[in-house]
Amino acid sequence: MTETIQNSVISVLIEDESGALARVVGLFSGRGYNIESLTVALVDAEQKLSRITVLTSGTPMVIQQIKAQLKRLIPVHDVCDLTEEGPYVGRELALVKVVSSGERRTEALRIADSFRARPVDTTATSFVFELTGSPEKIDAFIELMRSLGLAEVSRTGIAAIGRGPSVFHLNKEPV
């Protein structure tokens, strides 16, 4: 029985309390689930809710398990599989440092421009480019910078949200 491995982007609304992120990360490591990337930040200060976006992979049965196991965590309010629920926008931010001069420096700047990557720090011998987009777009940019003096990369991992007017969490009931 061969089962296909699929990628899934899962959003988790979780109470912003001590140890909450550790519960989520510990669940993934403890049960042998994969984390390709994970982002987290407070999104609702009033209700103290953070939103975690996890890019994970597994067979359909494993993805179902990941969602069911996440829902068991007491501080988790809601879990949404953006990959399953329909089209979504997924964006990642990257800071890419390129150290080079002469021809290669000019070429790096030209390519950055075509990717809409902005130089946010410039010295005579280096740039730090800021770039947002899909992980694939960032991969492509980094690949192109490799021969042009790529020195350091910092990426946030994907943050994602569903397209259209429907809302993941209305949160009408008291919590």
């Binding site: 029985m1 001590s18 140890g19 550790a22 519960r23 510990g26 403890g30 049965m61 179902q64 398990q65 069911a68 196991q69 829902k71 068991r72 965590l73 007491i74 309010h77 009931e173 008291p174 919590v175």
Partner: protein
């Protein structure tokens, strides 16, 4: 906490945190705490000293406190409560917490912690208790503000008993229990979202009933969820089985939910289950799982598990459904509500004609996989199965309400096979985690909860030594627990696997240098007895049962006995080993299976 909630508190009484804690425990209906004192919990012990509503049972090791509380919880249906100190107190409790997590036992474990200002400084007896117990509990808390203490403790109880029950730990820094804290009233629970809304899905119930009415070879596969759901669920199961005429099998954790002597009961299924239960599971065309979780000890080889059945899975924890075996119908919710809905839907439908199925079951039953031959010559060696059967029969003669705990290993399986239960909550065993050393402290917890009942720990000599210090607790509280040791001088289940899978190389599984259990009993102010031959067995059991104090009975049994039937790891239900003479390869014993546990 809102201002309104704060005002609702009676902070003007100026209680300290420890007193607030005890008040909340009292309001939650706590009567007994199992614990062990230490520096970080001194304020709580001081508050305990000054009150007489909550009883404290002093154990001899924190692991035992948790097992005792587990048995207390499982035998009463209430939340068990544990109190331990920081650092080693908390780490010693971890095994018990995982045990409770695996077997869905509601517990609240209160742990002392160093003062909040010292957290993170590697202070004396400091451990990152919430970090260590995060995967060992259903949920845990560190109380950082006195104002949140009462609410967190109330919430801990709610988390422990709601939904699928489990252990909850509350870490209590010493400054929180020493300092003043408000006794806040229960606020509107922030956990309302966790409570299951409404009954089982009507469509799923309808699909199940439809399948039940057309099935030719149906089977109920019941688990610990029925026990957790309360005696009413057991009663509903019995009624549904009567109305439908369906056979019932049970997991280890579910024993007692359905009366084991009943002809409709096929016995336990799984690795050491009955022939009829396993063959019926393999051959059924409708499998209805009720509060059970398709554990690997039950399923054997997953892709060969019950291959031709329509499967229904009812569980209170949605994450258990489709986890191991994909099912056709999922019913989320309390199994009591599911049983009620099925009974109501079944109505007055006459029981279908299942005579072909029952005839098939009868032919499997005639194999008598639990059978054994005991030589009754007085000097003959005692077979462990015979010892358990006689214990059951003689205990039954007493007419007393009987609770049985076990350790882990062969004796546990023989107890499950040969001791009969007709009521829920009487069978206390470590199923999921398989914790050697569970049975003796569990007997303590059960006896504390039921002082007038007959409480027996069916033990192995190796397991029981793991928490033998609890004989001290038994002596202190004069608990008339009976410790019935099937002593074969081996870690029997390890020895059995070494025989079957590792060429009879008995690596480290012989119990060298065992204590004299009779003298050991006497050293702990209990009565010791010993039976070395079958001629002495009944007399020892009778004297043990008649004695009004604690007894350690050392029953010397056949050393090389194996536990059968056995489905070797990696084999299917129809590939059971029935006895020592069977070709093990034909029974699915493979190199691949050797890698499984």
């Amino acid at each position: 906490m809102t201002a309104a909630e704060r005002d609702a508190g009676t902070g003007n009484e100026a209680l300290n945190g420890a007193e607030v804690l005890l008040r909340v425990l009292d309001e939650e209906g706590v009567e007994v705490i199992f614990g062990y004192p230490g520096g970080a919990v001194l304020p709580i012990y001081d508050a305990l000293f000054k009150q007489d509503r909550i009883r404290h049972i002093l154990v001899r090791h924190e692991q035992a406190a948790v097992h005792a509380a587990e048995a207390y919880a499982r035998s009463t249906g209430k939340v068990g409560v544990v109190l331990v100190t920081s650092g080693p107190g908390a780490t010693n409790a971890v095994t018990g917490l995982v045990d409770a997590l695996m077997d869905s036992i509601p517990l609240v474990c209160l742990a002392g912690q160093v003062p909040t200002k010292l957290i993170g400084n590697d202070a004396f007896q400091e451990a990152d208790t919430t970090g260590i117990t995060r995967p060992a509990t259903k949920h845990n808390y560190l109380v950082r503000e006195p104002g949140t203490l009462a609410q967190i403790v109330r919430e801990a109880f709610e988390v422990a008993r709601s939904g699928r029950p489990g252990p909850v730990l509350v870490d209590l820094p010493k400054d929180i229990t020493v300092g003043k804290a408000p006794l806040t009233k229960p606020a509107l629970s922030r956990l309302q979202r966790l409570r299951h809304q409404g009954g089982p899905d009507a469509e799923a119930i309808a699909q199940t009933l439809e399948a039940m009415k057309t099935a030719k070879r149906p089977l109920f596969y019941t688990g610990g969820g029925i026990i957790n759901s309360g005696p009413e669920a057991s009663d509903l199961l019995r009624r549904l089985a009567r109305k439908t005429g369906f056979p019932v099998t049970s997991t280890l954790m579910g024993l007692g939910a359905f009366p084991s002597p009943d002809p409709q009961f096929l016995g336990m299924l799984g690795m050491h289950g009955s022939v009829e239960a396993n063959m019926a599971t393999h051959g059924c065309d409708l499998l209805i799982a009720l509060g059970s979780r398709f554990d690997d000890r039950v399923t054997g080889r997953v892709d060969a598990f019950s291959p031709n059945s329509f499967k229904v899975h009812a569980d209170i924890d949605p994450s258990q459904i489709d986890k191991i075996v994909p099912v056709d119908v999922r019913i989320e919710g309390d199994v009591r509500d599911t049983l009620e809905a099925l009974l109501e839907g079944w109505g007055e439908t006459p029981a279908p004609d299942l005579s072909t199925w029952w005839n098939q079951i009868a032919s499997w039953r005639s194999v008598d996989g639990f059978g054994f031959t005991q030589d009754m010559a007085p000097s003959a060696v005692i077979r462990p199965q015979h010892a358990v059967r006689r214990l059951y029969e003689l205990a039954k003669e007493t007419g007393r309400d009987t609770f049985v705990s076990t350790e882990v290993g062969q004796h546990q399986m023989w107890a499950a096979q040969h001791f009969q239960f007709d009521k829920p909550n009487r069978w206390l065993t470590s199923g999921g985690l398989g914790t050697m050393g569970y049975g003796l402290p569990a007997a303590v917890g059960a006896q504390v909860a039921h002082p007038d009942a007959l409480v027996i720990d069916i033990a192995g000599e190796a397991s029981t030594l793991m928490n033998i210090q609890e004989l001290g607790t038994i002596a202190q509280y004069r608990l008339p627990v009976k410790i019935f040791i099937l002593n074969n001088h081996y870690m029997g289940m390890v020895r059995q696997w070494q025989e079957l899978l590792h060429g009879s190389r008995y690596s480290q599984s012989y119990s060298e240098a065992l204590p004299d259990f009779v003298k050991l009993a006497e050293a702990f102010h209990a009565t010791g007895m010993r039976a070395t031959h079958v001629g002495e067995l009944d007399d020892v059991i009778r004297r043990m049962l008649a004695h009004d104090g604690p007894v350690v009975a050392d029953i010397c049994v056949a050393e090389g006995e194996n536990c059968y039937p056995m489905i070797p790891s990696g084999a299917a239900h129809n590939q059971m080993l029935l006895g020592p003479d069977q070709d093990s390869e034909a029974a699915g014993l493979t190199e691949e299976g050797k890698m499984l546990v």
